[in-house]
Symmetry: C2
Subunit: 121 residues, 2 copies
Amino acid sequence: MDFSKLDGLIPAVVQDDRSGEVLMVGFMNEEALTVTRTTGFATFFSRSRGKLWTKGETSGNRLQVRRILKDCDEDTVLLRVTRLGDGNVCHTGERSCFFREIENGQAKVAGGITQAAGEDK
Amino acid sequence: MDFSKLDGLIPAVVQDDRSGEVLMVGFMNEEALTVTRTTGFATFFSRSRGKLWTKGETSGNRLQVRRILKDCDEDTVLLRVTRLGDGNVCHTGERSCFFREIENGQAKVAGGITQAAGEDK
């Protein structure tokens, strides 16, 4: 993996292996990736605290890693996980950290309407 | 959104709105997010070229944005998209940039076996 683009870090996207839901995005340094691979539990590097943290180490809501996929440039990983504990990944108590929508004019207009390519003016 | 953590950039995860497949991860600065919201097509900031690029501007494989979700910390976005053109998002010709697996000892051991929490030694 190429850790050089973000000062030693790569983004790690966490996706529920069963539902396909995107749950969170964390950052990993090389050590966090190694720990994740050897323990089987998603472990990140906390930018604010400057150290490794295993997701769920206090809450019990650990993320058991089923598969790790790397992208074409080898600068991002995708973790396919099983949620343990109560299954709520976000520290707010939501299942996913992505629970709020940004207003998006084009998408609202297009919402629910199936359009062929080229019709999306 | 908080663009301060990565020198003006946030990660943008792109997910197929229909299949749930994670297709790619790009980075956005504030302008890229504004262009994405106003045009409805996923637009990123290229770290290597130092400028905006709309995905598919040359290949035609644009990404029509259906929904934009922000995470709890407001430092990452998730784009739910419809793939246009031939639908292959990766520049290698693959549908998703995440087409290679990293070997993962624990996951291989656990693969296909449903385990209760705590049994995953």
